[in-house]
Symmetry: D2
Subunit: 323 residues, 4 copies
């Protein structure tokens, strides 16, 4: 069955500025259902022209609005939600893409608020079409849309939508694109899925902290994987499987993501843990999502065609011998 969460509908209860268990679902779906969601951009679509400043419209802590939550029937703690992304289509008036500099935010922003002035609050508005992002008069960047913020509720905790973590959230991971399936932990009945903050283009790390933000109609298909108690979001597409980690410092995000990936290779693909550790050393790939949010996000992946265990070595025996 297909559903919609139109902007007007969501506005009745309000977009959410937190991912947690304290908001009523705006929609209930069954496993296998699809939903077209009208998302806002991270500025609530209020940064309308280049003469504005981000601080003009910021109403802290009401930042980075997300749609939802969506209650998925049958999803229970210990299960995983499988969210297949079907399409991300731009909406709204042109120029509907926005990037800007914000006060004391971003990867190269000054360290000290007491001693340094912030960067200037420059705003750039760009036209976003499905065939490209009009960066400047001479350069069009490819339209590579993805969901910046997607996550499920903790049982007790309610996280701001700026922070990624083991619930997902503001991961800013450019692999969460149409064609990918994101797996999210279910910690509360129904999973309680939130999403928004789509980006039309973004470099690795989202350097200044603001990608090409834009409002979209994002269509997803939601399913439940029973009895898969994942601790962190995972992801898969036709080519690879990817595990995530969202922590600081960044090397700990890399370690967490790879560690989760080893766990997945062992549990689902027949790997011995040492075999997996060795293989990822030779063939793992690291995607840096963001290095600007309160936690940093990394996706560690391995091509599916490389998911071939070494079946003629008894690694456990070897481990005992080489201890």
């Amino acid at each position: 069955m297909h559903h919609t969460i139109m902007e007007a509908e969501q506005r009745k209860t309000g977009y959410s500025y937190t991912i947690g268990p304290y908001m009523e679902p705006v929609l209930t779906v069954k496993p296998g259902d699809s939903v077209a969601v009208e998302t806002l951009d991270c500025f609530e679509c209020k940064l309308e022209n280049e003469s504005m400043r981000a601080s003009d419209i910021a109403r802290i802590p009401f930042l980075n609005p997300v749609s939802g939550p969506i209650y998925v029937e049958g999803a229970q703690p210990g299960d995983a939600l499988a969210v297949r992304i079907r399409s991300i289509v731009p909406r709204g008036d042109q120029p509907r893409g926005t990037t800007c500099l914000q006060k004391y935010f971003g990867g190269l922003t000054p360290t000290s608020r007491s001693l340094s002035a912030p960067f200037p609050e420059i705003v750039r508005k760009v036209a976003v079409h499905e065939d490209g992002v009009a960066w400047n008069r001479k350069l069009t960047l490819p339209y590579q849309p993805f969901i910046g913020t997607i996550g499920t509720a903790h049982l007790l905790f309610s996280t701001d939508t700026l922070t990624p973590g083991n619930h997902g959230g503001n991961m800013d991971l450019p692999d969460i694109v149409p064609g990918a399936t994101v797996y999210l932990p279910v910690r509360k009945d129904g999973g309680m899925l939130f999403l928004g903050d789509c980006h039309a283009a973004q470099g690795d790390g989202e350097l200044c902290g603001v990608a090409i933000e834009f409002p979209t109609t994002t269509t997803i298909e939601v399913d439940v994987v029973k009895n898969w108690p994942i601790e962190w979001p995972m992801l898969e597409n036709d080519e690879f499987i990817m595990a995530t980690g969202s922590v600081k410092p960044l090397e700990e995000a890399v370690r967490t993501a790879y560690d989760n990936l080893i766990g997945w290779m062992v549990s689902h693909y027949g790997f011995n843990k040492w075999d997996a550790y060795f293989l990822l050393t030779q063939a793992g790939r690291v995607r840096v999502g963001n290095v600007v949010d309160p936690c940093y996000t990394v996706g560690a992946s391995i091509l599916k065609k490389y998911l071939v265990p070494t079946d003629d070595i008894d690694f456990d025996a070897l481990a005992r011998e080489k201890a």
Copy 2:
């Protein structure tokens, strides 16, 4: 003119375990000359079979031998060395590829030497051919060789070959491949170039700390860029330009690399600094070299086709206005 540094020649003075100014050149070349260098693997090719342990053959601090130094005529402090990599060809008996676990080394190794036992010292030997790395009976990984350790001497300091830094060194950056040109700072007359530690395959981050290590004949072409006082290694190929940062924590490596890249875009490609910052936010790419060495290495890059400044915006005026 073409030169060689054969293994037998290098052994006369010895491979070097440090990158610094205190070793006599093994070869002097002119700008434009090429050199075929017979490199050892990081274990000095002594980890010969799977029944061994890395700790059997480690003679601390004589680790990770490199070839050189090569003195480049005309290279003076304030210049950059341009090292174009022509080819990396395997040499030595099969199985000539080596990976292994080492004591308290690697991205997922235990934190504490006092409280935790190290991982088992498993060694894996694999055949390396120019058409593939024979990972196991059913899986062949692509042969994607690169130079793991390459750097130039500081004027006064002599760095161990395990540590990357602003001299280059053990960056383990998989983009240092045939076809790429690496730019290295000249801090001492002649530049004093060292290289070795080639990898036949490696995942991002070099997770366990040991890629597919192998001995090679690596052919480079060396040139001098006068009056380009770079602080950090840079890299370029037909598709992109890349700046590096080798520091800890990893986010600081990302920031350093991107900061260096902005500097390069401003100095050579006509960018205003804010324009560069914005563009990298949308289109920059991050490659994680290693997260296992004493410093971690990141390469930040941008496609050459995107090096198109926004020429109709006066960013400096805008910055004053939006301050």
Copy 3:
């Protein structure tokens, strides 16, 4: 006026496992009132003997129970709550002190869950008296009790009680002792104060992650500082003022704490910002609270007797000249 929150009272609504705006106050007080609070230890006092394991009694995410929230009349967003700690008295049967090792927790715990076994779950029970902590037969440690977790609600977000941040929370900062006044941001009417998780003794960093945890009667006095919109918890006693930072990596916590301290010296003690920066370089003190929680906590302080601005130098003029 004096109030109490007895254990029996708090159990009616339940201890809280989150610091946030979604729980009804268990008590309303006026500025100047005092409250005696019966706190549980972080294990809910269920780790009763040394034959148990922490994992036996952990009901994730119901960890680290705190008392409250306390609604303080007149406290409004933009104010600060001033919590003066009067006394921390042990309660409960002996041995009432608990420390232990937990699975994959603590400063020296293994990096990888996939590859390493956790540390053994050893539990130690020790007698806690007001004249000392009976560590072993030959060694008594001083009784130096403090509040491990204290914080106020965000307006929208609800943080787990294991994580410290700009709301306070699980800072594990040994300076939050009787005699100190903690300032906490008010982000929701009434402030909504939570506290618990007292420690009878703790080293800097709380290395294994579990100090001498014990149940207490903690008496505080609560006041409101109108129009002091602090972003982070601050602290003061007769000898020094201290600002906090709770982030990762640890150097960022140090920077945040010092930056907040400079801000305080400028706003309240007549310092020029450069003068403050210089003075802290020579006389600032850093206390490491914890290096084990999801964020790490640092307190940066300066003795009150050193709060003497350099009044014969025009730093701003100098800064322009030396720019």
Copy 4:
């Protein structure tokens, strides 16, 4: 026997800007001998008045000059050097104390060289007497002198004097004071001891990167501890034992220092490793040396009076049981 290294003597061969094996000893001593060393300040005493800028006199890489090396007879790889600090006496004309801001250096300096201007290069000169540091007209700080940079040579590597590490070096650790004994690894015959960069006062972390730098006559007594192959500098005084770690990020320095301390407690004080881990959790102390150099330094310590093992618990048996 007592020796001196007067400034005039050291200037014959030159002060050293590197700690390594490539410089001839300026003095050879026997175990038990004492040496009075005339040290320069880190600016080579060239920052003479407040109208100057640090960048006026910096001759990169000739920074932070140290005295030595001192060859200690009988010291061989696998031994430790014991350096007892007897006194640190100021020398030179007043005002002989110097602090300043430097370009892109210090704990709160801007992140990006490409995007941010550096802090202003303010210089402050202050009178340093043995009874106090004349901070400003109204405030005298206590004279608490210590050695900022002290270390021994690696066998092959030559480290700049700005970087601390497992050789010691620029640790900026305020516990290296008269009365303390510093233990340093011997990695080359004679140990090859370097020292300098004394500070008359310094806060934890050395926030702006420049303490009260001053020239001194520093008197040390040097001894050899045979067959003590320490990996990192250690320290002891009448009250405590301290282990160090100099790495980034700062939490890794804390972990390294504590891990080294556990090793010391196990090897020399009869502790079971778990007992040591538990005790440091309750009673360990962390001193932050610097958070500004290329590596950050931490000292972790425990009072000698607490070095009392728990002798009635079989921790190893317990560990097996609770695994």
